[in-house]
């Protein structure tokens, strides 16, 4: 166990040369005999290897140099390094969640990150500077530090997001010249023409985007891993009204109200403080017909006056308001002996009473001379009332037994064209005909004849559903407002008739079976006001750039303010109240290769070789033709993985490709320019040279000091 004793040793805290009876390792550092006295700053402090701290070098000198001494101390270096470790480590998670561009904006290009870097640079500089004049032994140390500073200078030159660094994407469709690079910078541009003069203002949208700050993200990370509580909920919805005044055009302030990244491509209705009312429904889809959507829920909002056609489900939210008495139209049972055409129900809604009249339609079918008419005696204060059948378009036919059956598998509605009229007040035979109306046998909607008079046609087959047809192909939901504030809903289906007619409240549920699938509709809520907004979606972290981005602009203030949503990479002309027009464009900033670097490229052929069997990709190669702005002749070039094109001071490298339907490709190149490159290379070189020098000096020192260890 003697060995172990040697291994753990019992010598002091410093690194004296190890006892030759223990490990026969020669010392690595130069002079390890001086004991450590770190807590005695009064005297020049010497470390274990005769090391003097930065502060001991600057003591008693100019206050600024003393500050440099503090900033370049070992402890501040350690603190800086520690901070960098923590920050960059967490930043890799931030990048996973929010993407490269945002992380660069929030972390790597932020003032505080640059401050840490600058302090570290001061530290590295100071550590070498305060020890001036340097001894020969310090050569390695000085070169290493100079190398580090040079690399950092390279970063400072290339860093930031200014004009010094270029990082964008060039899309080159096969056969077309490509010169416009899209940069990772989102810009909003307002172009106004005033008295013949065009003026434009540009804003960097990313500055206003609502990403969680790094601190908030860090707190969220700690909390969710300890308590499970979350501070950030994705998709994070930026609060409305956090508006920023961008500019003023002709006395109208222009505000940027919101920036929404990762959203759906289409605007959707969402609760708001103003706007039309709406119903919110939740649809649950079940069954094979819906593929991956099966078992999924979808929330939809239908504003008043809108009709939403979703294929198997049509939801109409009607604009008009109906009298509460309308329920009676639907409450009356359909008589068993109603003829093949069913009946008409007429409702007259007086303030004090309602009159309901059920009229069987006693027409002969297939009657060529169909301008039949019939007299309805009774109503309207005794006035005779006449109904004339103008035409009937059957989509349902009757077999020999008089049983109805659909003409086709997917029957359209039978239609009934009617004209209604009233006998004149003078008691004459003259009838005042109203304009003809067409009643739809499928949509059992109340038709208004005149102010307070309603008619409903009930086709017996479709009211009850076709025989042997258990399923509906298309399901209709008709949502009405009653004048007493209640909501009335009719649910009908193409072939299974009316399954619901009555008042509904949130919580109402309906099942519609389509055979291959089933849709369950929940009436979730009635929203007093809705407005169109981008619907946020959670994107895969790697594909965030494929999401739609939106910004909301507000022009003017107060109730007359206009609001506009603009999608990324679109342009729109907005009209000010004064009639003046403003062209607004929002998109990635573009950068012209031909103008700025004097060339453009045309993708001639894209070679995508596959591994044997045709499954995996083996090569991606773009054959391009480079055309110059000046008189130089065009040249051919090849850009492939790891073999970029260096042209005009920029580098184009193969990044992605997309296949077109005609088999041709669009090739995507990342275009980069790094003006800090020479410094980074020089610095790296110095760094390596410095490290080697340190080794060399130490080895030399060791050879001088100690004889080679005995065999």
């Amino acid at each position: 166990m003697r060995r172990i004793h040697c291994l753990v040793g019992s010598t002091g805290p410093s690194f004296p040369p190890p006892s030759p009876t223990c490990w026969q390792a020669p010392p690595m550092s130069d002079n390890n005999n001086t004991p450590v006295q770190p807590s005695e700053p009064a005297a020049p402090v010497a470390g274990p290897s005769g090391f003097r701290t930065s502060r001991s070098h600057t003591q008693g000198r100019h206050p600024l140099i003393q500050i440099l001494g503090y900033l370049s101390s070992m402890w501040s270096a350690a603190i800086m390094l520690g901070l960098l470790i923590v920050v960059t480590g967490i930043a890799t998670y931030y990048e996973r969640d929010f993407g490269r561009v945002i992380t660069a904006h929030v972390v790597y290009q932020s003032w505080w990150f640059n401050t840490i870097f600058a302090l570290l640079a001061i530290n590295i500089f100071g550590a070498a500077a305060v020890r001036f004049p340097w001894t020969k032994r310090q050569a390695g140390f000085v070169i290493t530090h100079a190398g580090l500073l040079t690399v950092m200078l390279g970063f400072a030159i290339a860093g930031g997001d200014g004009a010094r660094r270029l990082d964008g994407m060039l899309a080159a469709p096969q056969g077309e010249p490509a010169r416009l690079i899209e940069l990772n910078r989102e810009v909003l541009n307002l172009v106004v023409e005033e008295t013949g003069q065009r003026s434009s203002v540009a804003f960097r949208v990313t500055d206003y985007a609502n990403y969680p700050s790094f601190l908030r993200y860090t707190a969220d990370m700690i909390l969710r891993n300890t308590t499970g509580h979350r501070l950030i909920h994705e998709p994070e919805v930026s609060p409305a009204n956090q508006r920023v005044k961008l500019t003023e055009i002709a006395g109208h302030p222009v505000f940027l109200r919101r920036v929404v990244d990762t959203a759906a491509a289409q605007l959707a209705w969402a609760p708001a403080s103003e706007g039309p009312s709406a119903v919110r429904m939740r649809l649950d889809f079940h069954g094979e017909a819906f593929g991956p959507e099966s078992g999924r829920s979808q929330q939809i909002v239908v504003p008043r006056g809108q009709r939403l056609d979703m294929g198997p489900m049509v939801i109409s939210h009607h604009q008009r308001t109906l009298p509460p008495a309308i329920q009676q139209l639907f409450a009356l049972p359909l008589p068993e002996d109603s003829g093949p055409l069913g009946d008409l129900i007429i409702l007259i809604d007086y303030e004090h009473e309602q009159i309901l009249q059920q009229v069987p339609l006693q027409f002969q079918l297939n009657d060529e001379s169909n301008s039949d008419s019939m007299q309805i005696q009774t109503i309207r204060d005794g006035d005779p009332f006449q109904v004339a059948l103008l035409d009937y378009f059957p989509e349902v036919e009757f077999n020999e037994q008089g049983q109805p059956r659909p003409v086709s598998d997917e029957p359209l509605a039978p239609l009934l064209a009617l004209r209604l009229g009233f006998a004149g007040d003078d008691g004459s035979e003259e009838i005042n005909w109203l304009s003809p109306m067409i009643l739809d046998g499928l949509n059992f909607l109340p038709n208004q004849i005149i102010d307070n008079m309603w008619v409903l046609w009930r086709h017996p087959t479709l009211w009850k559903g076709l025989p042997d047809q258990e399923r509906g192909l298309v399901s209709h939901l008709d949502f009405f407002h009653l004048s007493n504030g209640e909501h009335f809903l009719i649910r009908s289906s193409t072939v299974s008739g009316v399954s619901h007619r009555g008042l509904v409240e949130p919580g109402w549920k309906n099942e519609a079976n389509m055979g291959v699938g089933e849709i369950i509709t929940h009436f979730e809520a009635y929203l007093p006001h809705v407005a169109r907004e981008p619907r946020r979606v959670v994107m895969d972290a790697m594909m965030r750039d494929r999401a739609a981005n939106w910004i909301e602009l507000q022009i003017g203030e107060g109730p007359d303010a206009q609001r506009h949503w603009l999608r990324r990479n679109t342009a729109e002309t907005l009209r000010l109240p004064t009639g003046q027009e403003v062209l607004v464009t929002y998109g990635r900033q573009q950068y012209d290769l031909l103008d700025r670097h004097g060339f453009e490229i045309t993708l001639q052929r894209f070679i995508n070789e596959k591994d044997p069997g045709g499954q995996g990709n083996a090569t991606y190669t773009s054959l391009v033709r480079v055309r110059y702005a000046d008189s130089r002749p065009a040249v051919q070039a090849e850009i492939s993985m790891n073999e970029p094109l260096h042209e005009g001071g920029v580098t184009l490298y193969q990044t992605a490709r997309a296949e077109q339907p005609d088999g041709t490709f669009v090739s995507f190149f990342t275009v980069a320019q790094d003006r800090g490159r020479p410094f980074k290379y020089l610095g790296s070189l110095l760094l390596v040279a410095g490290i080697l020098t340190m080794y060399f000096m130490k080895a030399k020192g060791r050879r001088k000091r100690s004889p080679p260890p005995a065999a």
């Binding site: 019992s10 480590g89 895969d540 041709t664």
Partner: protein, 668 residues
Amino acid sequence: MTSDTHFVIGPARAPLGFAQGCALSLILVIFSLGLAGAQEGYYPVLEANEGPVSSIDGPLLVKQPAIVGNLPVLHNGRVKPLSVAARQTLNTITGRSTFGPVVGEGLGMSVSERYSAVDVLISWWKHPQQWRELPMIEVPRREVQEHLGVGRWASISQLQDGDNGRTLRQLRQEVQRSQDTGEARRDWNDLKERTLDVARTVPFAMAILQGYAIDLIPLIQTEEQLQWVMSLDHPHLDGSVAWQARVMEVVLPFATSGRTNWRELATERLVETNVWISVRDAALFPDPLLESWPDDFSLLAHATAWGEALRYQKADEIEVATRALESALYQLAEIEHLQGHGAGEHYPEPNVIKTELFYEASGIFTWTWLAYLLGGILSAIALARAGSASPWGPLLYSGIAITVVGVILNAFGFYLRLTISSWGAVTNFYETFIYVAMVVAILGTLMGVMFRNVYYVIFGSIGAALCAMVGEAMPPDLGRDINRLEPVLRSVFWLWVHVKVITASYGAFLLAWLMGLYALVVAAWKREQVSNATAHALYRCLQIGLVLMIAGTILGGIWADAAWGRFWGWDPKEVWALVIILVYLIPLHLRYIGAVRATGLAAWSVHGFASVVFSWYGVNFLLGAGLHSYGFGEGGQHIVIPISAAVILIAVIAQLRIPRIAKSGPAQ
């Protein structure tokens, strides 16, 4: 093809313009509609029971002549011996490399002997319908077994029909939808992720049973064959599933594009695409479409004969047919290749196939870690027996010699992999482990001998053994199986330099980690400080690691500048390399002011290794983002995190037991 129309390989994701985005989405939709038949992955999907009905009575499993395993086949983008393809396939589907009594029992079958992967694969080909009903797909996770209501192994019919079939299909479709739209998977959780593994195995297993996924003959090898394919006027065209899925998918977009030169473009693409004829179409159920295929070497005839021989299971006929087919196929390597492209270019020389057979049979990396372990144990015994005397005696030298043998085996194994894959560098997770094992062994032995320090030798060997063992214990799909390589990594020079230097630094840090942990534990046991000699030894390791890490990072920057036009891009792997540098820079600097001393350095060697673990494992497996994470892995966190935490805990406890030094106290 549908899932593959958009790849991203550079640091910036392709930001599609609005118009382009719309156009591309439309294209994708049209394209997916046009290829609705090929939606379930790459392979054509047949109805569940369309598989051939075997006319053979007799046992399901038959032992095949060994020579069958030597036949070169195309599997997973690479030509390899059938035995290797069969082992990999069997492993993917059943989680086992052979089929023996224990597994057979699990499958509810009475299996008296152990059958090789080739035996099982051929049985699958011959009796697909019976196998469809047998539990053969491994469902490794218990929660997934419960979710699907199946046991450890489930049959294809259990997973393809009814509710399970719907559940699994929906999972695959959800992943496809997410890929198409870029939206994150909805309501995704760990259970779904685990179930997805099974969901993906089912169509693959079905394809394998039907004879797809393993190919035999390149379709276009000569100009004549190219002309034949492009004539596009063949009888039985509609009846050929493979043709529709593989050839028409390539040609159709051009043919319908209305371009005048579409033939030319389609021909180019067809050559690039490198289509092969599957075992099914060539041998098991010869595709009538191929009857007119120009076949200079009678490849199809030999393949058909081979298929017949397998079907009627006559051992001598199988041997003869296999030999005939094998020699016919080997002629492909000699054909003058079509315009420098074409399948023939990839057809390996016979000796490569033989090398792979040898590599597979040798289990060379198992021998490697055994040698390392033995070398380490012998060296440790030498140290223990030496007592106060010098351990440098015959026992230690033999330990070192055995470790050196391990290094030689390790290097030879690497050489074999290089010969087989033609890119012999550290290209995947598994290879980093066997490479780091070699680095640790070399470092430990060299430094041990140079500095006469036996601890380097011991921990070098033991660290190498650990590394190689972990590599061998890993699931084979993390790189043990030699497979195709990402195009961006096919830059041989930089791959050699950058990756090898970076991973070599892991080796140095690993050595410091083991030695530091040992020193801390021993010091805690003795309630003493870690000795300065140990600290020096550790310091040397950290220095070497740091220098390698800095050099590797700079080399990586140069590669990144050459390949991507920027030196540094704050990519996660880059950031974590920087973190490693910073982590180890701190003690090396604080040492100067006495803030980190011997015990501190030992502790730092242990704790600092966490940054290496994260960069090595975490970035790819836990973070799962970035340019450097070629092939995101997942899983393993239930092993890696507890072990890392346990080691750190041990080190912390040890540190607490080590008496503190009075701050201002002078050294003795």
